[in-house]
């Protein structure tokens, strides 16, 4: 023990590899490692408490009746505190969305990958730039240069499939998980 606490040769960390110095180094590192794991495991509950709570997660599903929506009409519903755009697209809008050259797109996606049924477009109505709600849901709104949606905050233009065409946004409008329960109702989430 006296070797461990007072390694011979003055200055345990000195030039020579005494057994005591190695053991002390090991104890030192092991204590540090235990402390680090301890701090991390104590910190995690506090950090995780800031993540979405169980009741917030539980509100993450809604059912929407589509039957009142006419062709060319849009509605906005709230899902997880966010607006979800549901648009019953016209034939021209579907045709315009399908005829786009994918090579021109910033975030390439064919129209078929954006919808489950071509006339129903369901998207999260949040600009992928900094989270504003794009205009284009009301018939009087500006719809941007591609006839879809236009974000007034920083000028992103989305087309009739909600794909980013111009402006600072990096991605297409996000698609929520949804499923058709019947022909005229969906469950989002």
């Amino acid at each position: 023990m006296s070797d461990t606490t007072h390694p011979a040769g003055g200055g345990g960390q000195g030039g020579h590899e005494g057994e005591g110095a190695t053991r002390r180094d090991f104890l030192y590192l092991a204590t540090g490692a235990v402390a680090a794991v301890g701090v991390a495991s104590v910190a995690w509950p506090f950090i995780d408490s800031m993540n979405p709570a169980a009741d917030t997660l539980a509100l993450a599903q809604i059912d929407v009746d589509l039957s009142p929506i006419q062709v060319g009409q849009s509605i906005t519903v709230t899902w997880r505190g966010k607006p979800v755009f549901i648009r019953r697209r016209t034939e021209e809008e579907i045709a315009a969305a399908a005829s786009v050259n994918l090579a021109e797109l910033r975030d390439p996606a064919p129209d078929s990958a954006r919808v489950q049924q071509p006339q129903w477009l369901v998207m999260v109505g949040i600009c992928t730039h900094l989270g504003c709600v794009p205009l284009g849901q009301k018939s009087t709104d500006p719809k941007g240069d591609y006839g879809g949606w236009f974000c007034p905050c920083h000028g992103s233009h989305y087309d009739t499939a909600g794909r980013i065409r111009r402006g600072p946004a990096p991605l297409n409008l996000a698609l929520p998980e949804y499923a058709f329960l019947t022909d005229t109702s969906i469950r989002v989430g």
Binding site: N51, T56, T76, G81, L130, G131, C153, P168, A169
Partner: protein, 419 residues
């Protein structure tokens, strides 16, 4: 610097056990200030007073505020209409934030002009940048609390900045929100942090003041105190000077509070938050506009975010980017001109940030952003090598007293006797 003899026996009794009176005397009474410090040196003290004003008004506001999405907006209106002097306290707090930034921005530009960040004051300067960051975080979260349209959408846009980071970005944003959008959990935590951070700020201010007292304040000439003839005791010379400067500042502050309380705000924030409708033109508070302009000047999301954070980060390393040995711009003919170009660039950025990001203002913002970074990253390092500074005076007293003839010489000699 011997311990003073206090007459009051209670003071003496306490001081013997806990020498706070000796400390106060040392730091705020006999503390030697360069005698040529002008009114620009008052803004540190002014910022300190505004911080205390913000804490006092903030605590009284918190006693009447409800951090819940359903009640926040109405509780603020209740403060305005029903709480005794609530309108006054809220307008002080609202405008106090702007006044705090005005004082601190002047304080920072004063430091840049007179080279106050140079050795041995680098840590002092870096603590100052930490204070600026804490102020920005606190101001941002405070602006969210009234839960108006600008509160909500400002919070949405700013928290979404973090989504620009690849892979972890979305997780960070969800974590910041405590949900899938800015909502009640977000408001609650912002209130908690808005209450906490000013006290953290106060702690860093304490370190900042401790750091400045190690080597003393810089001064307009930018050379060190050579002897007692170059300095004056802090009290009463600078306490009275700072008090006068503070008085003028407070008149302007009160002018806003009583005559134009909403001048620096946005009417949209008197509309309750609506998560489904974004206001047509979102702008942050004026003190964030230059940074907002830099964010929008970069045509790439991640690039813009990095440039905006970089605009502050670059300030941390200014002491090492500036290679000139001469502190004060008064003796640096070229740096002085570039300094004013930087001031103009920052003002242009601020104006461009308030305008829609298109056409001429986008171009102005881009040019000014490029200058901002070039100033720190290219011009400062090169100037130190290329510039030929004017000769520095031998002492702080010399430039003031030269040409003053015999009278001046006599005046210069006099403080020597006192020492």
């Amino acid at each position: 610097m011997a311990a003073p003899q206090f007459k009051n026996p209670v003071v003496r009794w306490i001081d013997y056990r806990l020498p706070i009176f000796t400390q106060l005397n040392h730091e705020y009474n006999e503390y030697p200030m360069p005698k040529n410090c002008n009114y620009l040196w008052s803004f540190g003290a002014i910022a300190m007073v505004v911080l205390i004003t913000m804490i006092v008004s903030g605590i009284t506001l918190a006693m009447n505020y409800t951090p819940h999405t359903a009640y926040a907006f109405n509780s603020v209106e209740r403060i305005m209409r029903d709480v005794n002097f609530g309108w006054l306290i809220r307008y002080i707090h609202m405008n106090g934030a702007s006044m705090f930034f005005i004082a601190v921005f002047i304080h920072i530009f004063r430091g840049l002009y007179f080279g106050s960040y140079k050795a041995p004051r680098e840590i002092l300067w870096m603590l100052g940048v930490v204070i600026l960051l804490l102020m920005m975080a606190t101001a941002f979260m405070g602006y969210v609390l009234p839960w108006g349209q600008m509160s909500f959408w400002g919070a949405t846009v700013i928290t979404n900045l973090f989504s620009a980071f690849p892979i972890i970005g979305d997780h960070i944003v969800t974590w910041l929100w405590g949900g899938f959008s800015v909502d009640n959990p977000t408001l609650n935590r912002f209130f908690a942090l808005h209450y906490l951070l000013p006290f953290v700020l106060l702690g860093v201010v304490f370190l900042h003041v401790a750091a400045v007292h190690v080597h003393g304040s810089n001064n307009p000439v930018g050379i060190d105190i050579k002897g007692p003839q170059d300095s004056l005791p802090f009290h009463p010379y600078f306490t009275i000077k700072d008090t006068f400067g503070l008085g003028v500042f407070m008149i302007i502050f009160a002018g806003f509070v009583f005559f134009a309380p909403n001048f620096m705000g946005h009417p949209d924030n008197y509309i309750p938050a609506n998560p489904l409708v974004t206001p047509a033109h979102i702008v942050p508070e004026w003190y964030f506009l230059p940074f907002y302009a830099i964010l929008r000047a970069v045509p790439d999301k991640l690039g813009g975010v990095l440039a905006m954070f970089g605009a502050i980060a670059v300030l941390f390393v200014v002491p090492w980017l500036d290679t000139s040995k001469v502190r004060s711009a008064n003796y640096r003919p070229l740096y002085r001109q570039f300094f004013w170009v930087l001031v103009v660039a920052c003002i242009l950025l601020g104006y461009a940030g308030s305008q829609p990001a298109e056409g001429i203002w986008l171009i102005v913002a881009r040019v000014a952003s490029i200058y901002y970074f070039a100033h720190f990253l290219i011009i400062l390092p090169l100037l130190g090598k290329l510039e030929r500074p004017r000769p520095l005076p031998a002492s702080i007293s010399e430039p003031v007293l030269k040409g003053g003839g015999r009278l001046a010489t006599a005046a210069a000699a006099k403080p020597m006797e006192k020492a």
